[in-house]
Symmetry: D2
Subunit: 136 residues, 4 copies
Amino acid sequence: MPLLSKEQIQSFLHTEFPQTTVIVESLNEKGATVRQTINDQHLRPGGTVSGPVLMAVADVAMYVALLGEIGIVPLAVTTNLSINFLRKPAADSDIVAHCQLLKVGKRLAVGEVSLFSEGQADPVAHVVCTYAIPSV
Amino acid sequence: MPLLSKEQIQSFLHTEFPQTTVIVESLNEKGATVRQTINDQHLRPGGTVSGPVLMAVADVAMYVALLGEIGIVPLAVTTNLSINFLRKPAADSDIVAHCQLLKVGKRLAVGEVSLFSEGQADPVAHVVCTYAIPSV
Amino acid sequence: MPLLSKEQIQSFLHTEFPQTTVIVESLNEKGATVRQTINDQHLRPGGTVSGPVLMAVADVAMYVALLGEIGIVPLAVTTNLSINFLRKPAADSDIVAHCQLLKVGKRLAVGEVSLFSEGQADPVAHVVCTYAIPSV
Amino acid sequence: MPLLSKEQIQSFLHTEFPQTTVIVESLNEKGATVRQTINDQHLRPGGTVSGPVLMAVADVAMYVALLGEIGIVPLAVTTNLSINFLRKPAADSDIVAHCQLLKVGKRLAVGEVSLFSEGQADPVAHVVCTYAIPSV
C-alpha cells in the first residue's frame, strides 16, 4: 500500500513544484496515474502535444509513484529518461499517464510510463525512467 | 489474433536462426512469451545470467511477437534496444520473457519485454526494442 | 557540406515553430550547434534548467543537423529520444548543444547531442535521438 | 591519467571474466579502446556480427574505461544499456569499440561507445551505458 495519499502528494507537488499543473489521479501498489489538462501552450504546430510536455508528464508520473512507495524524498532526481513516440496525440484531449515501478532499490528506482490521449485505446508514447535516490 | 501459430514461428526460427535455443511458449494478441533454458554457457562469473543473453532473449521475444502480428518478415531488423538490469537472475532457473507490442506501424514496430527468472515475481530486466520493417 | 545555410534553417524554424527561441549557432559536416538563452521560465525549483527544456533543445539540435544534411523536410518526426542527466545545469548560463549525426538513412536518422551550460567543460546532459524521415 | 595500465586491466579481465576474448587496445583520459576478433561463433545468419556480441563488446569497453578511472572495482554492474544498430557489421573484420566516459560520479558512471568494423569510417553501432558503482 502506498505510504502517502494522493492528496499528500498533490500538496507536496503544489508546494515544491508550483509551476506544474499535473493532477494526481490515483496511487496504487507500485504505481500511479496522473493527468495533464492540455491547452494551447502545450501544443506544437500541426495541433499535437509537444514531446517535452509528454516527457514532463511522464517524469511527474514516475515521481508520484516513487513518492507513494518511499515517502517524500525531495532530492530524488531523474538520471535517465527514454521516450518512444508512438502516435500523434490529440490536441483537444487530456494526457493521462500510468506509471508502473519496475524496481525500487536503495539507490535507484526504475519505472515505465504509458501515456494516452484520454479516451484512446493505444498509447501516444512510452517512457522508461530511472531516478537516483539520495542516501539518507 | 496472431497470423501464425507458435509452431510455425518456432519452425521458422529453427530454419533461419539455427543457433538459437529459445522456445516459443505462447502467442497472444500483440504479444508473445518465450523461454530460454539456462546452462553454463549462459552464465558469467558470480553465477548469474549474462547481460547479452538477456538481450538476445528479449530480442527474440520481440521478433516472435512481431512475426505473430505481421507474418514472416525475415528482413525485419532491430534498430534500437534499451535494457535495464533490475535484479540478479538466478543461475539455475530458465529465463521467461513476455513481450507486449506497443506499436506496429508500416515501417517501425516498438515493444517492451519483461524478463523473469522462472518462478520469481519481480523481473530481472526490462527491455524496450524497435524493429524496422522493410518496405514490401 | 550542409545543404542549407544556418540562416535558411533559422528562418524555417521561425516560420514553422514560432514558439521556439533556439538559436542556430553553426552547421558543420553531419552536425550542428544550437543555443538556448535561459530565463526564469526554463528553470525549476532549486535554480536549475528543467529536464524538458534540455530535451527540447537537444531535439532541435538534432533537427537542425538533419535539415542541414537532407534539406527542408517538415514532416521528419522524433521517434525515440533517450536522455542522461549528468550534472546540474547552471541557472544563469545559456545551454549550448552540439549534435553529431551517427547515421542518415533513407528512413531513419540517428544522432547524439551533448549539452553544456556555457563555459563549463563537462556536459550537463547527453541525448541520443532517432528521427523517422517520411518517404518522398 | 588512467590509474591502471592496459596490461593490469587485461590481466584482471582474464582472471575475473575468463570467457571474454576482448583485447584492451588502449586507455586514455576518461576513455578506452577495445577489440573483439570475430569468428564464426559471433556471426548470425546473413553473415553479420550478432547484436548481443556488439552489446557485450560495448559493455567491456565501458568497464575497461571505468576501471582505468577508478581502479579495480569488481562489483560495478551495468544498470542500463541502450544500443542503436546503425549499419551491418562486416563478417570478416574485427569489431573495435571506443568508449568515452561522460560522467564518473560516486555512485553512477555514464559512457558512450562507438563500435566499428575495423577499417570502416562509419560506426556499426552506438551504445550509451550506465554502471552503478558500489559504496565503499
